[in-house]
Symmetry: C2
Subunit: 215 residues, 2 copies
Amino acid sequence: MQSTASISEWPETKRNLVDAGVRLMRARGFNATTVDDICAAAGVTKGGFFHYFKSKEEIAKAAVSRFSAGKSEDFREAPFRKLADPLDRVFGRLEFARKSTGGTTHLTKGCLVGMLAQELSFTHPELRGACEDSFSRMAIDFETDLAEAKAAHAPQAEFDPKEVAMLYVTIIQGSLMLAKTSKSNAVLHRNLEQFRQYLHALFGRSDRSHGKSRA
Amino acid sequence: MQSTASISEWPETKRNLVDAGVRLMRARGFNATTVDDICAAAGVTKGGFFHYFKSKEEIAKAAVSRFSAGKSEDFREAPFRKLADPLDRVFGRLEFARKSTGGTTHLTKGCLVGMLAQELSFTHPELRGACEDSFSRMAIDFETDLAEAKAAHAPQAEFDPKEVAMLYVTIIQGSLMLAKTSKSNAVLHRNLEQFRQYLHALFGRSDRSHGKSRA
DNA sequence: CGTTACATACCAACCAGTCTGTATGCAATC
DNA sequence: GATTGCATACAGACTGGTTGGTATGTAACG
């Protein structure tokens, strides 16, 4: 079975199950997704499901890992990563985050981690922990660039890169929630734009505007 | 039955049911809360429940209304509301929001609206609408002070009070989610503090620090 | 005597998880 | 290289408990 093997080496059936789990739980949440739903979506029967996962909770954990790793990879391989100046990477990340949610028309499907964090934090300790880790990694990834940018461009500034990175995660998650609720990701774009301006303020007025400024 | 009567005139049994619904759904979400749970918590039987609510979804809507109205009232009656200067009310609101979540030890129970918005936006259109309205009212309430403060203190500033108010809601919601996940509302405090500094920047450097500044 | 406000028993659907069966590959044995 | 044996990878039927909702009764009240 080898459930701890790198996910890319998992048998196809198991990957299909996890993919289906990600898709369904992302849209409906944990409780509203039945293992029969997952089986049907993956073209597998119950026998197959419980051969690979000992419980529904376990596939949820695998789904969080997979989703999380996927997003992680998207950002690790994004063009902005190659920019030499860490401050360019900071703002490049915001641009990339904005673009990766599609235009104002194309609405976001939301974040699986946010969904499960909200739904299960009080009832499923292990899932809560998995979500916490996912958020934490997302923050630390940003924090790295932020700290380098601070050292290079504003060493005397008073902000704490860790706190700013957490605010970033907060804004992303909050925005995705509001985007779902309002059926438009315009909020997400506007919030990221404001966060960008906050960063400008933190780094002093070296206005390296990557987007358009206001009319 | 008169389900549209002002909630304060509802019979006690009905209010008990809604209160129980708020408490349970706030902690476990919609799907993980059974109507039997609600009945037990309210000390009512199924018959009583379905006498007042025609479905589980309907009590969820009532719960959102009640929770929403309750929070609304908390803010409407908060001390900061009496401050003459709108900018003082702006920062006073942040202080009040911070305090109303308790100290760093006492952990937040989360926001029912955020919970249901996340869980049901894609599957229950009416609930999604109810959550959207709730967020919207929360934003507009802040927007009012913000617009007045801008007119009085920074009429030439470029920010849009509506966008800033939405960012506020975003940060609150995102923070509550991260607070649940990390089992500490320290994130919420740090995020609000940063938002306060963002507002300072928007309103120019008239440093009216209500809290302590950084060491 | 009709309406409101519940209580209780009940039901059909659903759902996570189990059990048993079976096809397939692979390795040791003859 | 045929046979045996065993593990893996599923399929599909089954189950026990749960759940939203209903049907029916009945006590109080106006």
